[in-house]
Subunit: 470 residues, 2 copies
């Protein structure tokens, strides 16, 4: 990212966080040169960019001001929507992921649950079965849309939730990530506007960058999820092609939308004929009595491509996910045939075999119980050691905590310090294109609280204490 872009992002971030409100006068060009240490050219370029994006306005003889919202949005403050015409998050994410892969690091920054919670032995038994039953011709039988028994097993799981999903509309993919990428590609052209949440799963931002799409980020709250009023305004203002979001256990916030809100979301998107790409990889990791349904369950007009996988709840390494793609199923298969051809045949067969053993549900019950316990234990540990100024956002879904530091603090700096102590966290910067959430981070609480994890919490708390004192 160029320097002027960095500065522009920084200012958008400040506006998002409410540091600058609509109508506020921004520092003059010369003041900004002093503040940022950047050249006059760079600062001027950044301001021009923000002006061309409608984020700020220049008033002759006076200076630059934060743009006021259009009439309909006047009551919505601070900024609920951010637009980003060239998403660029990739290198940063890559570096963070690489750091998390080191086995000597306590992986509080990881997106995956502790793989020791997965039924390795039973899955291995299925692998052995496959090694005995697969024939030379299995390859052809498992080309897109994928293994038939596996697609049927997935369709039956939808049916148990009262949803009608035909095996014929299911395409097996390399994890949910390929499903989401193919879905996005199937319904957009480069340059199209796509709605994402803010903050959101970084995979969505990377997909937008890769496919050269433009992002509209909608404010999303740890308690209530996406801001439907802001969403409605954006749908009125922009020719949006698709909306990529998570309705259950949103990453990184953990929030699950209420049934009523899911219904409203679907209605809103239907009104504007916008495709919903629903990332539902955490759906099985609920702790309430009833499993939450996806938005797809409320969609009778077929605007939803519902993407999920087994990677977060059964086995990460198999790389098996799917999309229930409705009328887009054929296009998705075409796109898959020309990018990865298909997912591996033994992995599909092994999963089909495992699902046929009917042990999946008892595994899931055990997994939910263990994750809930671990989340509680780590919460207590964090609560005990973290300074009172730190806020732990808690959700009834998944295994993430969204942790809010005092506004003046920098989670990115904390992340760098933590890595030096062999602890990873996932700073807010990973989940946005706009430079906001600088004082937030995501913490993976799926790990057993051993001595190593306990010490990591203490170290993390010490680092935060140090920043507070400083």
């Amino acid at each position: 990212m160029k320097k002027y872009q960095q500065l522009a992002r920084q200012i958008i971030g400040q506006i998002t966080l409410g540091a600058w409100l609509p109508g506020d006068k921004l520092p003059s060009l010369r003041e900004q040169v002093t503040l940022s240490g950047m050249s006059f050219m760079t600062v001027s370029h950044a301001y021009q960019t923000l002006e061309s994006q409608g984020v700020i306005v220049a008033r002759p003889q006076s200076g630059y001001y934060v743009a006021s919202r259009p009439a309909g949005r006047a009551t919505v403050a601070p900024v609920k929507v951010m637009r980003d015409e060239a998403v660029d998050i990739n290198t940063y994410i890559y570096d963070m992921l690489q750091a998390s892969c080191d086995a000597s690091v306590v992986p509080f920054g990881s997106a995956f649950p502790d793989p020791r919670l997965f039924p390795l032995q039973q899955l291995n038994r299925s692998l052995v079965t496959v090694s005995k039953t697969a024939t030379a011709m299995s390859v052809i039988e498992n080309l897109p849309p994928g293994n038939e028994a596996l697609r049927h097993a997935i369709a039956r799981r939808y049916a148990r939730h009262g949803m009608q999903v035909s095996p014929d509309e299911i395409v097996i993919t390399a994890g949910a990530l390929e499903a989401l990428n193919l879905s996005l590609q199937a319904v957009t052209e480069p340059g199209d506007w796509v709605i994402v949440e803010n903050p959101c799963f970084y995979g969505a931002l990377q997909a937008l960058e890769r496919l050269r799409l433009k992002a509209l980020s909608i404010a999303t709250d740890p308690q209530h999820g996406i801001d439907l009023a802001a969403l409605g305004q954006v749908l009125n203002d922009y020719p949006v092609k698709a909306c990529w979001l998570m309705t259950n256990g949103q990453n990184p916030l953990g929030v699950t939308l209420s049934p009523e809100k899911k219904r409203q979301l679907v209605e809103l998107l239907q009104q504007h004929n916008v495709t919903l790409i629903e990332d539902d990889v955490y759906s099985e990791l609920y702790y309430g009595r009833e499993p939450p349904l996806p938005a797809r369950a409320y969609d009778e007009r077929g605007i939803t491509l519902h993407c999920s996988s087994f990677s977060k709840c059964l086995v990460a390494g198999f790389r098996i996910g799917w999309v229930a793609a409705g009328k887009h199923a054929r296009r998705i298969q075409q796109l898959q045939l020309m990018s990865t051809l298909s997912t591996s045949s033994p992995m599909q067969l092994a999963l089909a075999d495992y699902l046929a053993t009917k042990r999946y549900d008892s595994h899931l019950r055990k997994l939910r119980r263990t994750l809930a316990e671990r989340k509680q234990q780590i919460w207590q540990e964090l609560h005990q050691h973290l300074p009172a100024q730190v806020k732990l956002h808690h959700s009834e879904h998944g295994y993430f905590f969204w942790i809010e530091l005092p506004e003046y603090m920098d989670a990115n700096l904390l992340s760098e310090q933590a890595i030096a102590h062999k602890i990873s966290i996932a700073p807010g910067k990973m989940f946005t294109t706009g430079g906001g959430w600088h004082n937030y981070f995501r913490l993976n609480a799926s790990w057993a609280l051993g001595e190593r994890e306990r010490q990591a919490v203490v170290t993390l708390a010490d680092l935060i204490h140090d920043q507070i004192k400083a």
Copy 2:
């Protein structure tokens, strides 16, 4: 594809095949309306398109003429280069692939060798070993760039051919197809010009379409391979970013470039600083005494991304390939992390285990022997039944025949008729964007010549006889 584009392609195809030579007068707009049955608007649009591409020229008061080649190309006839600004081959390929997947069809159109030639039992033994040794944490160890033992085993195979490829520059991918796609994406931006062969592997054309790249197709000959003179001219005339080609056992022609020609190719691309994306999936399937080296072996400046896989010579269903990506290795990993995350962990481990058994080379020797025998048998059968007007292009590599029907015949029609008789072939149309090769098809000769295959050859010959009589 729109009608005017169809017509434009058709005319380019006719020029390529020499039906119209440089300087020839084309049918007038009104004549073309009668000939094509299309509207005046459509015909006019097609001619304008061809004119803007420099394929034809308008002479006032006279009509449209096939453009003469620039001075340097004057001796080169017919057209050695085709340009295509919006590649669209996808739906046709998809339909062809779907047709080939039916187990009741004799798969002469398939791209894969008979999977019964693969060491299923030994691979299954490796799967069982993996099921005993894989740990919960294997997933993390096999994230991009991929399993270390597997990358080392691949690097050692390069070393045995005297090539220096570090395990650190190897990225494990979902077959060669993902390797090729990621490579292309790593070095191009939408709208860039990319060189492909004509005819070429349809996956290249699909990748160009998907990434919105523009194609320059260089004439490629069953005996001598790519036309280096035409390639040199294109490199002079266009700001080319990459060249995607096959140096060994080219698909569909089967041609392998001589060492001298590979050296010249690399020099030419180096002079113009153009990246070579080398698709080398058939490299192990040679029948000469010495294994042919890839172009990469002649590249000391690091312009080559060398892509290959185990899918054509060991196991198709595992979906494991790789790219030796040199300085692009990090970018490739980034692109993979945001599209499919990684290949499946058990598949990587099983292959690493199989390669450690040191049975791969004896399998390859046996595979080459069997394929050579089968190719010979099917050649005899074809030779016996096909009319004398049909030409069988033979190569010393791989398991394809490139079959040339008389010029007035239509391999596409033959393909439709053959499918009705439960026989697939791969018509020339699959391997070009320009509408040429209408009277060619590719035949997969890796199958054991049983009664079913013998009958299929007879039926195919009958269908050809019928077209000849008609």
